[in-house]
């Protein structure tokens, strides 16, 4: 088992379904949901302007951590902050809260 599959490895986490509803979360889930949705929207607009498609992963690196937003194929948006700043793969993390 990798650390990415462990929900306790996440300080904050939120899953937003394609209808825009928060369906799972922990920590600052509501604030993370607002931020993730806003960032996704802007990133997609940039993709349209540059004709490079929709944004799939958005990551902000801070001195003490990272915020990661992942758009899944079904349109769900996952926002998370790993407890370990260097946690690598985001896709396994994103499955948390999906019920899969």
């Amino acid at each position: 088992m990798s650390i990415q599959a462990d929900p306790s490895a996440l300080e904050h986490f939120v899953r937003i379904n394609p209808a825009g509803e928060v369906v799972a979360g922990q920590g600052s889930a509501q604030r993370l949901a607002s931020l993730s949705t806003y960032i996704c929207s802007l990133a997609d607009t940039i993709g349209q302007l540059l004709d490079i498609g929709s944004c799939q992963v958005m990551e902000a690196a801070y001195t003490g951590g990272r915020l990661i937003t992942v758009r899944e194929p079904d349109g769900s948006i996952v926002g998370l902050k790993p407890r370990v700043p260097q946690a690598p793969a985001v896709q396994p993390i994103a499955r948390i809260g999906s019920g899969r």
């Binding site: 490079i52 801070y62 951590g65």
Partner: protein
């Protein structure tokens, strides 16, 4: 549109594997230089820059000491790093290994910060307004910023 000295500096990024181009804009929205292929109209890059600035501002308001932002698309990545009053966007292939390129980007940022005509300060960090990186501690009596987040001590 492009400052020649800045353009030369940006062009050095192309030597790094996976780098397809870059552009630099000031926080006031002015596009300083663009080295992207295929060439994009300045107006288009301005619109992109405005939205990238909004993303950086939103992320900066969410945590302390934002260092950089990466947007990953199907075939490309956009890497945004900030000087105190300007931002550099580097266009990368999706397969590009960011840790490999980051030292090169840092070198270019340092070189840009030494160009007095740009008036770029050396700080690469943006000031946070509030934070979601901090655990939510309910403090009903605490003062709040206009964004509704706590004002940090």
């Amino acid at each position: 549109m492009s400052n020649p000295q800045v353009l030369t500096t940006l062009h050095a990024l192309r030597h790094a594997p996976g780098v397809l181009g870059s552009f630099l804009w000031m926080d006031d929205g002015r596009l300083v230089a663009a080295d992207v292929t295929p060439a994009r109209p300045a107006a288009q890059l301005q619109m992109v820059a405005r939205r990238l600035a909004s993303i950086a501002t939103a992320y900066a308001s969410a945590g302390q000491c934002l260092e950089h932002v990466t947007l990953v698309y199907e075939q490309y990545q956009l890497h945004i790093s900030g000087l105190a009053n300007a931002s550099l966007v580097v266009v990368l292939t999706r397969a590009c290994s960011l840790p490999t390129v980051l030292p090169v980007i840092d070198d270019v940022l340092r070189e840009l910060s030494r160009m007095p005509e740009l008036g770029l300060a050396t700080s690469t960090q943006r000031t946070p307004v509030t934070t979601i990186l901090e655990p939510e501690r309910l403090q009903p009596d605490a003062a709040r910023s206009y964004r509704g987040g706590r004002i940090l001590e």
